[in-house]
């Protein structure tokens, strides 16, 4: 179960170090769970490895964080590849008795990094030579996730005749949700004209199709079910899955219009619940097209139907049949990355703690992460 979520101050630039933001979020999450720091016996972060693969990755060092907390741990993990979902490995750690209460965090200083670089930094800005999978992409000019994802969006528009005006309802609607989230980075209303007027970054992805680099940390406490009586408001992980069924590569993925389907199918196979039972959806939105993938993969609409599903914004707004990214998502709430922000919102929705943006009776909430070759999907329900 997920017992606590907590976040630091979130903003375009926050004048605290990554280390400070991390500790702010951990303390907030532990208090939210109804626990004290001494109860924490597992630590995990994403990504681990100690080295940033993009400027502004600010998790810090796992051992320094343990030292600052002055705790004893029986399980630790710094993940780089294969995370699937933030709470996936921590849930297995508590289920197998390795720890009782694991906190996992993700800290970004990407807003500050973008300001310091005079724009959103490129992959190629940190090293002279590309290594690993990026060696195939950076030399030809695919220097950013934007350029790597853009062909997926181009192929989708081409194959299904969808338009940017239709898909634009995703960022426009999410901005309206962000207006109801005091912690969102961008809260002023955005119109379709604003969206279409955004400068093109890499066709067909324009400025407002991209998530917002920000500073902030999110921490999540995952606890063993045995501890439920000690917890303030635990939330059940009903089902989760993370499947890679194609070539794990941005450019080699064969059918770029279908992403996340194997993960979603595996997740649905682990529950009796159905897509129609989901009251709101926190779907990964590094870019607009990723929401399109997940709407279709999760079965909220059919393949090729997402553009019609989101057109006009009615279905995906608060009060609609599937309120989408009710915190504003990464497109307006801030790029807290790797579905940490989505998970925090899902937990709060299930508990009924979302104030003005609360979805009534949100007893089943979906979370998805990334898409592309790494992917995760889960349902959270009332405990």
């Amino acid at each position: 179960m997920i017992s606590g979520v907590g976040q630091s101050t979130i903003g375009r630039q926050v004048d605290r170090s990554g280390f400070q933001l991390t500790l702010d979020a951990i303390h907030a999450a532990v208090a939210d769970a109804g626990l004290t720091i001494d109860d924490i016996d597992g630590l995990a972060m994403f990504p681990g490895g100690g080295t940033a693969n993009l400027p502004g990755y600010a998790n810090g060092n796992l051992y320094e964080v343990q030292d600052a907390l002055r705790i004893t741990t029986s399980w630790r993990l710094g993940q780089v590849e294969g995370m699937s979902l933030p709470f996936y490995a921590p849930a297995m750690a508590v289920a197998t008795g390795q720890a009782k209460h694991v906190v996992i965090w993700r800290t970004v200083k990407e807003g500050s990094a973008a300001r310091n670089a005079g724009g959103r930094p490129a992959y190629g800005s940190t090293k002279r030579y590309a290594e690993g999978p990026l060696a195939w992409l950076l030399p030809v000019g695919m220097l950013s996730p934007v350029v790597q994802i853009a062909p997926y969006a181009a192929r989708y528009l081409h194959e299904f005749g969808a338009t940017r005006e239709q898909l634009g309802w995703i960022p426009v609607t999410q901005r309206a949700h962000a207006a109801l989230n005091p912690d969102a980075v961008y809260r002023t209303p955005m119109t379709m004209d604003d969206y279409l007027g955004g400068r093109m970054i890499s066709t067909p992805i324009s400025l407002y199709d991209c998530d917002v680099p920000c500073d902030g940390a999110t921490a999540i406490v995952v606890s063993t079910a045995d501890a439920a009586p000690d917890l303030r408001a635990p939330v059940r992980i009903e089902a989760m899955a993370g499947v890679i069924d194609g070539r794990p590569s941005w450019e080699q993925w064969q059918d770029m219009t279908r992403v996340g389907h194997a993960t979603a199918n595996a997740m649905w196979a682990r529950t009796d619940l159905k897509p129609a039972d989901v009251r709101c959806a926190q779907l990964y939105d590094g870019f607009t097209i990723e929401v399109v993938w997940w709407l279709e993969a999760m079965g909220f609409c059919g393949v090729g139907e997402a553009a019609a599903f989101v057109d006009g914004g009615t279905r995906i707004s608060l009060g609609g049949e599937l309120p989408l990214n009710t915190w504003g998502g990464q497109l307006s709430g801030g790029r807290l990355h790797a579905s940490f922000g989505h998970t925090a919102e899902a937990v709060r929705q299930v508990r009924g703690e979302c104030g003005e943006r609360q979805v009534p009776g949100a007893d089943v909430v979906a979370i998805t992460n990334v898409g592309g070759y790494e992917a995760g999907a889960a349902l959270l329900t009332r405990y």
Binding site: S125, P139, G141, M142, P151, A154, I201, S202, T203, E251
Partner: protein, 84 residues
Amino acid sequence: MEWVDVTGTGTVYSLTVNQQRWLPDLEVLFAVVLVDLDDHPGVRIVGRLRGIAPEDATIGMKVRAGTEPGPDGTSIPSFEAVTR
């Protein structure tokens, strides 16, 4: 694993025209194409498209593989449109 010779023509599966100057010395605009090689199903190569205006690139167009000079004496995959 071993090296296999492939023929040089293919079909553009998808593409993007990059307009953002990610690095100080990056010249924009340019088209990046994802090319499925005609005679080798499952083999996809990514490269720049040269010889035509980036905005004239289309999904489904026929291209031929080649290289262009990269930094420090390297060669970088690139494609040119096949004209009939």
